[in-house]
């Protein structure tokens, strides 16, 4: 069976700079994975390159629900079932959220409308629908708006970039519980984060550690606990001097 997300030797450059140096990662349907890494490890690059943002060149393969994303534009990737929740969702003045939601409506109109109805009630979005997208929202409200859009788009694979950044403890718990509540057998979720605190409120199936453009460790939640006590420095040290042609033994499925 296809996975929600499957990366094979995924390499990404920004200009001449190689940032991701061959990432292998599989998120099966129904699972929630966490990708952790220090600043500059390539976490946000991974998000943007998956989404097909201009300026990133990539090689290797990316499959979402079995669909090869190679050569697809940003909107085509979204329609293929990939959803990205942004770390810093851009403000779009003059465009109310409900206008965007209307534009997002695809072929399954009835089901879409039902999701909008149900999720706006559940996430308390009613007051936000008539407001411009992300304009004047607090950090927590922006994340909630991203979660709302995720839920109504019903993607096959959701990548949540630094979904816990800029939030206080209560808001982190709220977002984490929200993500847990969105888990479904036909959805893969990848949470990208710097800190392990959000993991206190969710039960990830796997945790991956990204350092210097490579996945250096994958495992259960004990990986995050180890990070909590020892930090990222151990992985950096371990990684020093490793021949760049042979990173794969440390990545992917441990």
């Amino acid at each position: 069976m296809n996975a929600a997300l499957q990366l094979d030797r995924f390499t990404v450059s920004l200009g001449d700079l190689e940032i991701l140096k061959g990432v292998d990662l599989t998120v099966p349907f129904g699972e929630l994975h966490v990708l952790m890494g220090p600043n500059g490890s390539g976490k946000s690059t991974l998000c943007h390159a998956l989404m097909g943002k201009n300026g990133y060149t990539s090689s290797g393969s990316v499959l979402v629900g079995g669909t090869d994303l190679a050569g697809l534009g940003v909107d085509q990737r979204a329609r293929a079932g990939l959803f990205q929740a942004f770390q810093y969702p851009v403000e779009i003045p003059g465009v109310p959220l409900d206008a965007l939601i209307t534009e997002m409506r695809s072929n399954d109109e009835d089901a879409f409308d039902e999701r909008v109805e149900q999720m706006s009630g559940r996430l308390g979005m009613d007051n936000f629908l008539s407001r411009s997208v992300n304009v004047g929202l607090s950090g927590g409200e922006k994340k909630r708006s991203e979660m709302f859009q995720l839920a109504v788009s019903a993607p096959r694979m959701a990548v949540l970039d630094e979904i816990d950044s800029g939030l206080d403890v209560d808001a982190v718990r709220e977002v984490a519980e929200l993500v847990e509540s969105l888990r479904k057998p036909d959805l893969g979720i990848l949470i990208i984060t710097h800190y392990s605190r959000i993991l206190r409120y969710m039960r990830p199936d796997r945790v991956h550690v990204l350092v210097d453009g490579r996945i250096v460790r994958s495992g259960g939640s004990e990986v995050a606990e180890q990070l909590d006590s020892d930090g990222y420095e151990q992985w950096r040290r371990d990684n020093v001097g490793r021949p760049s042609a042979l990173p794969d033994d440390l990545s992917g499925e441990f």
Partner: protein, 419 residues
């Protein structure tokens, strides 16, 4: 139709009060003396006037127009510079032909004078040859909730017309006025519309100008607003039509505590030139002004906004802000945005922001990541860009049709690009 010459002047002046003939003669002398404007003059920078005013003729009677239903509290049609019908009078307001108002009100010559209006050839021609238009008066304390609508149309090929709208809002009176400027496409015509607004103490006016000239109309307009003590004006202009459409706006906040909110939205395509020269003068203390204009240019269109805020020495505790944002939708299009501040007082809050650039790449990326293709993403972003200005417009029946026109214009240029 007749030539703009001394013979025409004599004909027009016949039967008019002496002060008016004198003013016409004075303006005619200026008109004859002044050359056609040149882009070398600061006030006409970036604009190339490639015709001679003498090649156009003055209508002596209005052309045929379809009878449109009345709108708002009252409607007056001004066709080819001449008002149709006798207008509306009631205790709350009068909306009548300007010529009629002038004959009935012979002694009040100062009301019709417009100092400085002879500053260029077109304005001088307007003073010399303009005969009619609309006169709106709202007496002291009256409140007119429904808009008073003036529909200015140009219908005769090869004509030059001089419609004038005079608006006089009495002390503590309140009104809203909508002026629509229109002409058919493919009709080559020149219009020199002038709007004069006088606001009494504590008067309130919402004035919306909806400029939807046809694609070969040239419009060289001038609007003057004077606000007395504690008066408030909202002036909103949407500029969509015309081969060249220019608006020279002069707002004088003459009374203590008066305020002006100036908003605008314009969208040029093909080879359109949309030219805005806005002057905001704070003469007295505690006055407030805010200018907020957003525009887009596509194809080979050009837009110009020069905004001058002048704060006189006496105008302490003044707030004045100016924002002009421009979207370039094609490589060939250009937008000039020139803010100016002249501050003679020392206790003021003043600021300006001006931008010219393409659609925002981050907004496009965000919208496309939600599954919208590039065209739909850009269209939504453009709608939002204009909505930011249109949401500041006075509430009027026109606003929905303005939105439709803006979106239709964008869809048209989008589909043209695909050909």
């Amino acid at each position: 139709m007749i030539n703009l010459d001394s013979f025409a002047l004599k004909n027009i002046s016949r039967g008019e009060p002496a002060w008016l003939s004198a003013e016409r003669n004075e303006a005619f002398a200026i008109f004859e003396r002044l050359p056609m404007p040149s882009s070398k003059e600061e006030l006409w920078r970036y604009v190339n006037i490639d015709f001679d005013i003498g090649d156009y003729l003055l209508p002596v009677e209005p052309g045929c127009v379809e009878v449109s239903p009345l709108e708002g509290a009252a409607t007056l049609d001004v066709v080819d510079g001449l008002a149709i019908g006798s207008g509306t009078r009631n205790p709350d307001f009068t909306l009548i032909p300007l010529a009629l108002d002038r004959t009935e009100d012979r002694n009040d010559s100062t009301r019709y004078s417009s100092p400085g209006s002879g500053h260029d050839k077109f304005s001088a021609a307007h003073r010399a040859f303009g005969t009619d238009g609309a006169s709106i008066r709202v007496p002291e304390g009256r409140v007119v909730r429904e808009p008073l609508v003036v529909r200015v149309q140009s219908t005769l090929p090869g004509s030059i017309s001089f419609p004038r709208v005079m608006i006089d809002i009495g002390p503590s009176a309140q009104a809203s006025v909508v002026i629509r400027l229109s002409s058919p496409d493919l009709l080559e015509t020149v219009v020199v519309p002038e709007i004069d607004v006088m606001l009494g103490p504590a008067a309130n006016l919402d004035l919306t100008v909806n400029q939807v000239w046809g694609d070969t109309t040239t419009s060289l307009g001038r609007t003057r607003i004077e606000a007395d003590r504690d008066a408030n004006i909202t002036f909103a202009e949407v500029g969509l039509g015309g081969a060249l459409s220019r608006l020279y706006l002069a707002v004088d906040l003459l009374g203590v505590g008066s305020s002006a909110k100036i908003v605008g939205a314009y969208f040029g395509d093909e080879k359109q030139v949309l030219d805005y020269r806005y002057f905001m003068r704070h003469a007295r203390e505690n006055t407030t002004s805010e200018m907020f204009l957003k525009g887009a240019v596509d194809d080979e269109a050009l837009s110009i906004f020069t905004g001058m805020i002048r704060i006189e020495e006496e105008a302490q505790r003044t707030n004045a802000f100016q924002t002009n944002r421009n979207l370039l939708l094609s490589d060939q299009a250009s937008a000039q945005s020139v803010p100016n501040l002249e501050i003679l007082a020392n206790d003021v809050k003043c600021g300006h922001g001006s931008t010219v650039g393409p659609l925002d790449a981050e907004q496009r990326y965000y919208l496309m990541s939600r599954g919208l293709d590039r065209d739909r993403a850009d269209q939504l972003q453009l709608k939002g860009f204009f909505e930011d200005a249109l949401s500041r417009f006075p509430v009027s029946t026109e606003l929905d049709s303005v939105r439709e026109r803006v979106h239709a214009k964008y869809e048209r240029t989008q589909s043209a690009d695909r050909v």
